[in-house]
Amino acid sequence: MTRNAFLWISVAILALYFTVALLAPFIAPYGATEIVGAPLQPPDRGHLFGTNDVGQDIFSQLVYGSRVTLIFGFCSALLSVSISTCAGIVLGYYGGNIDEVVCRILDILMPIPIFPLLIVLTTFFNPGVVQVSILMGVLGSIHGIRLIRAPALSLAETPFIEGARSIGATDLRIMSRHILPNLMPVVTAKFVSSSQHYLVMGVGLSFIGLWDTMTVDWGSMIQNAYSSGALSLGLWWWILPPGIAVVGISLALALAGYSLEESFNPRTEVNRI
C-alpha cells in the first residue's frame, strides 16, 4: 500500500517536471539568457527566485534548464535500454555462436570505465546535449545487455516458445510478441533506474564543465553560483533552486524505481524469518 502510494507520488512529481519542461516558454517570464534586472537581487515579486550575477532571472533559467536536464536523462536512458533490450533478446533467443562471440566481446568491454571515456569523447567532438546523450546511451548499454540476456535465454527454452515456433511463428514475432512482454518488468525497472542515474550524471558532468558556458541547465547554474562564491556570500536564492530541482526529480525517480522493482520482484521486499 505505502509502496503504491510512493509510486503514484513520484509519477505525479515527474508529470509536473515534464509539464514545466514542455511549457517552458509559457511559464518562464523571461528568456534564459536575457538580462532583465539588477544583478544579485533577492527574490521579490518581479523575480520569483531573484537574479544572478549578471542580472538574469533565476526562475526563468530554472524553467528552461529543465529541458536540457530532462532531455539528457531520458534520451540516454531510452537509447541505452532499447539497445540492451534488443541485443539481449537477440542473443538470448538465438544463442549459439553469435551469443558466444558477443559475450566474449562484452567481457572485454565491460571493465572499461564509461565516464572518463565519455569525457574524452565529448572533449574531442565538442557536441551538443542531444549528441552527448546519444553517446552516453550507446556506451551505457554495454552493462545492460547481460541483464536482459539472462532471462531471455531461459525464456527461449520454455515450452510456450517451442509451441509458438511449432505453429509457424517467425523469429521476429516470437521475440517481439512472446519474449519481450515477459521481460517488460525488468526492462521498465532498468529504464527508471537508468534515467535517474543518467540524469544525475548529466547534471554532474555539466557541473564540472562538460558543456560550454552558454548552455543553461541545472548543473551549470549550480557551478556558476558555487564558483562565484554564492555560499560564502549568503546568496542562497542563487544556488538552492537548481539544487532542489535536481534532488526532487532524482528522489522521485529513485522511489519509482524501487517501488517498481519490489512490485515485480516481491522477494526483495519481505523475507521474514
Binding site: 572485454i108 572499461i112 570505465p113 569523447l121 554532474g204 557541473f207 539544487g243 529513485a254 519481505v270
Partner: protein, 326 residues
Amino acid sequence: MIDGHYLLRRIGYSGAAFFVCITITFFILHLMPGDYITNYLLSLSHTIPQEAVDQFYQQYGLDRPLGEQYIIYICNILQGQWGYSYQYGLPVFPMIMQKLSWSLVILLPAVLLGIIIGIVLGAWSGWRSGGKKDLALFNIMIVFRAIPEFWWAIMAVWVFAFYLQWFPLGGFTSISVLISGLNPWDVLYHAILPICLMTSFVATGNYYMMRNSMIAVIGEDYITTARAKGLDERAVLWRHALKNALLPMVTMTTFQVAGIIMGNVFIETVFSWPGIGLLTTDALRMRDLPLLEGIFLLDALMTIGAMLAADILASYLDPRIRMGDQ
C-alpha cells in the same frame, strides 16, 4: 588451487580491454583537427615556424605510416610515455601520478571505512529484512543515494564550513604552510569532511549489495537445514549466512571501488582538493585532451586491474565459480 587455464584467460581478457582503451586514445589523437604537435606547439607559443613543425614531426615519428606509429604509441604507453599536456606543457604521466597520491589521502580511508560500514549495516539489515528497523534504514539509504554527490558536498560545505565553521571551506592546507611547512595534522583537518562524505557514498553502495546478498542467502536451503539441525540463530548467522553472503561481495565491492573515481571528481571539485578529480575538472574546462586521455588510461588500468584481482580472489575463495566457468 587456481586453474592455470582460467587464470590465463582472465589475464588475456584484461590485456585486451586495456588494448582497446589504448586504441581508442590513439585514434582520437590522430583524428584531431590539426594534429597533436601543431596543437601542442600552439599552446606554447602563438607563432610556430614550419621548420620547427617539420622537425618535431620527424622527431616524434609522425611522418611514418599509421601502422608503425600505432606500434610506437603502444610501446610508449607501456613505458609510461603518455604524451604532453596542452595546458602545462609537462609530461602527463608524472603529473597524474603526483595528483593520484593526493587523491589516495581521501580514497584509501574512505574506501576501507566505507566497505566495513556498508557490509555491517547491510548484513544487519538483510538479516532483519522486512522488519520495521530494516525498512527505516533502507528508506534512509534510498534517499541518501538519490541526492547527487556534489549536492551533498555543497551542502556539507555550507553547513559545516560556512555556518558552523568546524572545518575549512576547501583546499588541502592552511596558509600557514608558507611559514611552518606542510603539517600532516593540518592536511588531515582539511581532509576530514571529504573523507566522511566519500565514506558514506561507498558505504551506501555496499549496503545495498550486502543486503541483497544476505536476503538471497537467507532463502537458501542450507539455512533451513542449519535451523532444522537446531542451531541457534547466532550460529546460523555467523557460520552459515554471513560467510556465504560475503562471497559475492568480493566482486561487487570492486565494481563499487572502480566507480568511485568519478564520485571523487565531484568531491574534489567542491572541496578544491588537489587530486585526480580536480585535475579532471581542470583539464575538461581547458579542453586539455592529452591530459584527459591520460586520466582515462589510468582509470581504465586501475579498473581493469581491480576486476582481475577480484576475479582471481573470488575463484580462490569459492570453487563453485571455477566449476561454473568451464
